[in-house]
């Protein structure tokens, strides 16, 4: 009798366990992506990658960013809103290295996991940092700039906001690397904060102030665009070597037509994909490496139609 009762008990327990195991999964987990802005191609690709990962891992995903890369206040508000909406993880790219630190700390305090992509924030609570090795990207830009055949290099840099971490890293890498070239006579930096038009204006001013400039470097997508606009406008394509970032179609066109001479293409799609995938892994209780570096590729007119470069340069849609 005892044995029979024990068996019956065991079966009951299994059925309970089985029911529990077959219970429907809880509603989808919510991950928010807060970008620096929403308008340019870089972020379009990041979003595309994030979307693919969100579909693959069945996550609820919202993606948003301020209208330009100056407005860190709006960006902080977006983070706060995501936290308030119940995001379990936020994939974040900081406009301002320091100004968003407090907001991020607050979010972490509420149990939200933070994953940084592209540009870092001043916080030790970030679970994982994913993106380009910006210093190396700066070095790569410098090497492209050294391709200029002039005897003296007068270099103008158009960089983004001084408070943005990745821009500063890239400039540091660039300056450290370019210093190795004895031909360099001058390296001047201007900072544009709002976007393409400002970059265009700042470039024109720079060229006015220093007419000898023969190398122009834009350290992100829209500063590059601004520079190429200025070069086109002023007809300096022949005279000036332009190094820009990322694979905006306009930049690619200008690479072909000569206004731009080299592009440092970041793997923005992978940043988005890996950002969301990492968030998923974190929420599942997994561990992540402190940093994941995504690829950068130097694209020039010569190699842009190489098989591997095509894959990096042109979005498959």
């Amino acid at each position: 009798m005892r044995a029979r009762r024990a068996i019956a008990f065991a079966f009951a327990a299994f059925f309970l366990a089985a029911c529990q195991a077959n219970a429907p999964a809880p509603s989808r987990r919510y991950v928010a992506l807060v970008s620096k802005t929403t308008t340019n191609a870089f972020w379009k690709y990041v979003y595309a990658g994030a979307n693919v990962a969100a579909t693959e891992y069945n996550l609820a995903l919202t993606m948003d960013g301020p209208e330009n890369e100056k407005n860190y206040v709006a960006q902080n508000k977006l983070v706060e809103k995501a936290v308030a909406d119940g995001a379990e993880a936020i994939v974040f790219s900081a406009i301002d290295y320091n100004a968003s630190a407090k907001t991020i700390q607050e979010a972490v305090k509420k149990g939200v996991k933070i994953i940084v992509i592209d540009s870092d924030v001043n916080s030790d609570q970030v679970s994982c940092r994913i993106g380009t090795d910006n210093y190396a990207a700066g070095c790569m830009a410098a090497k492209a700039a050294m391709g200029c055949e002039e005897g003296v290099l007068n270099i103008g840099i158009v960089n983004i906001d001084k408070n943005t971490e990745n821009g500063q890293q890239r400039e540091q890498g660039f300056r450290d690397e370019i210093a190795k070239d004895m031909r360099v006579a001058m390296v001047q930096t201007v900072n544009a904060m709002e976007g393409e038009e400002e970059a265009l204006e700042k470039t024109k001013q720079l060229l006015l102030d220093y007419p000898g400039i023969n190398v122009l470097v834009g350290l992100n997508e829209w500063t590059g665009l601004g520079i190429s606009d200025a070069v086109e406008e002023l007809g300096l394509a022949e005279k000036t070597l332009v190094v820009a970032f990322d694979n905006n179609v306009r930049c690619i066109r200008r690479l072909e037509s000569g206004e731009v001479d080299a592009l440092i293409v970041q793997n923005s799609f992978a940043m988005g994909y890996l950002g969301i995938e990492s968030a998923y892994k974190l929420l599942k209780g997994g561990t992540l490496p402190e940093r994941i570096n995504t690829d950068i590729t130097l694209i020039t007119r010569e190699n842009m139609y190489d098989e591997d470069c095509q894959k990096v340069l042109f979005m498959f849609d």
Binding site: A6, A10, A17, G49, R253, D295, Y305
Partner: protein, 570 residues
């Protein structure tokens, strides 16, 4: 007894261990068999569904490529008819990005691309394919970027074929086809839960993959290098089923990928979880049942074992209380109970028989004393009567009567020492008459000893021995001294004579040698002493009995040691 101290496995532990072991083994066996069957059937069904899906995909893609070759034919016909405008074609087929035409030297001679604006200078024309001149096959390129147009960079594949125009020259026609139609179709193909299919060419280049972007940006990988080597059909590699089928009209191959383990490992994990729960439960029930088992079986057995141990130590006084428990234990207990009772009965019977035997023997011994003495005494009395010594004869007969009265003592074995002493004195008096005062005797008895008991007729054989063997052959007047005194808690009776004495060897022989042997040797010395010694030993055991001290020509001292016994103590 030592066995019990050795570390032993308790029965309950062994039982629970065995139950757990059996359950675990059977679960694992069942699990293995079930999983084996399950996995196989899952794999088979996965392969079947994968092959079906791939077959369908291949059919559709083949239809698409057939369609493309039809268009190609149409273009060729148009060209041979001198028609040189394919704008309409482009309108009806949105998947065709551009139609380009090249002369024999590879120079671009015609381009139709709808709205797209041809670049003024084309840095690198990716739509131009090197194919064997005059090839009538459908040559399909790897995916590439359309590099002919201003500001537009769609991914396309180029299909090229040579055609003869009226002038007899070869022209090469290239169709740039975008993936949209194939993509829409391929993205929708699912195999199992997470399976998908993609197109590669014979060299292992991915033509279209639902996750092309992930492949291009190196987020995902598809191991086409090994896949390219595989023949058509289904291949299972580390839980992934690849189903490959080549298209007939071009060098494309359709690859279906579905992972077995996604489906199966989920089930395995679930089953493992169940198994874990089951094992826990089994362990729990086993320990509980072990406890229960111990209570209902093991513990009673332990009690029984203890009882048996006690019985082993002291069988006679053991009291058995039946042990309660299961029918087996109860049966054991009952049997043991019966056995105890039987054994105790047996032991008791053996003891009684032994006592009876001894008593019989004693009686026989006692009755050995009399005949010669009686004959001699009656002879003496007869002589006295004849001589007219009536008074003496009367004393003699009275004394003899007293002697016999005491020796009978109503059949009691033990009599007070006082009586025994009287008995001895009667005997001495009679013998003194018979030996005509050849010896003297004296008695020194501690009065406190007299009320204690002793075996009857103990002193008489000693005295008899002293007279016959010690004094009889003496020339001088003999003397016999009887002493009774305390020595420690024991009472000692001594009969001492000053007769011829014995050698130490003789002394020893008297007490050692059995009667039977003595009869053979014909030596009659000390039969009585040996009898007394044996009787004391039977009654009181060691160290009581007789010790003889003797020296030749000096005398003999017989020492009898008995415990102090009061009436009714034995």
């Amino acid at each position: 007894m030592k066995r019990r101290h050795r570390p032993e496995l308790s029965l309950a532990l062994i039982m629970s261990g065995m139950v757990v072991l059996i359950v675990v083994i059977s679960i694992f066996l069942a699990f293995e068999i079930f999983m084996g069957l399950y996995e196989n059937s899952m794999k088979e069904s996965a392969i079947t569904s994968s092959e079906q899906a791939i077959g369908q995909v291949a059919k559709t893609i083949a239809k698409y490529t057939d369609n493309i070759s039809l268009i190609m034919e149409e273009i060729q016909n148009g060209i041979s008819n001198g028609e040189e405008d394919f704008a309409n074609l482009l309108d009806t087929r949105p998947d065709i990005v551009a139609i380009t035409m090249y002369d024999e030297s590879g120079r671009l001679t015609g381009c139709w691309a709808g709205e797209y604006e041809l670049k003024k200078s084309v840095a690198k024309n990716l739509s131009y394919m090197e194919i064997p001149q005059g090839s009538r096959d459908l040559n399909i390129s790897k995916p590439h970027i359309e590099s002919l147009f201003v500001g537009e960079y769609p991914w396309v594949v180029t299909i090229a074929q040579d055609a003869m125009i009226n002038s007899g020259e070869w022209v090469r026609i290239s169709l740039d086809i975008r993936f949209s139609e194939i993509a829409n179709y391929m993205d929708g193909v699912g195999i199992g839960q997470h399976g998908y299919c993609f197109i590669m060419d014979k060299e292992g280049n991915v033509i279209y993959h639902p996750k092309q972007q992930l492949l291009y940006f190196k987020v995902k990988e598809e191991n086409t290098e090994t896949l390219q080597l595989l023949a058509d059909g289904s291949h299972t590699e580390s839980n992934v089923i690849y189903t490959i089928r080549s298209l007939e009209n071009c060098d494309w191959r359709i690859v279906g990928v579905c992972s077995v383990d996604e489906v199966i490992t989920a089930k395995v994990r679930y089953t493992l979880r169940l198994l874990g729960a089951l094992l826990l439960l089994v362990l729990l029930t086993a320990s509980i049942s072990g406890g229960v088992f111990a209570r209902i079986f093991s513990n009673p057995v332990k009690i029984l074992v203890k009882a048996m141990g006690k019985f082993e130590e002291n069988a006679e006084e053991f009291q058995f209380t039946p042990v309660r428990g299961t029918s087996e234990v109860a049966a054991l207990s009952d049997s043991f109970g019966h056995m105890v009772v039987n054994m105790q009965k047996l032991v008791e019977r053996i003891r009684q028989e032994e006592v009876f035997l001894r008593k019989t023997e004693l009686n026989a011994l006692q009755s050995q004393i009399n005949p010669h003495f009686l004959y001699n005494t009656l002879d003496s009395v007869s002589w006295m009567c004849e001589e007219g010594r009536n008074k003496d004869a009367a004393f003699m007969v009275n004394t003899l009567a007293r002697l016999f009265r005491i020796s009978i003592s109503k059949g009691h074995d033990l009599i007070p020492i006082e009586k025994e002493l009287q008995h001895a004195e009667c005997y001495l008096q009679i013998q003194k008459f018979r030996y005509k005062n050849q010896f003297n005797y004296s008695i020194e008895a501690d009065p406190e000893c007299l009320s204690y008991y002793c075996n009857k007729i103990m002193l008489q054989p000693m005295i008899e021995n002293a007279i016959y063997h010690g004094l009889d052959r003496m020339v001088d007047e003999g003397a016999i001294l009887i002493r009774i005194f305390w020595e420690g808690k024991d009472i000692v009776m001594e009969v001492e004579d000053n007769g011829i004495g014995m050698t130490p060897q003789q002394c020893e022989d008297i007490l050692q040698i059995e009667r039977k042997e003595r009869k053979v040797s014909g030596d009659q010395i000390g039969i009585g002493i040996k009898n007394v010694h044996d009787r004391i030993r039977i009654y009181f055991g060691e160290p009581y009995g007789i010790v003889i001290e003797s020296e030749e020509d000096v005398g003999t001292k017989v020492i009898i040691r008995i415990p102090a016994i009061k009436e009714g103590e034995l």
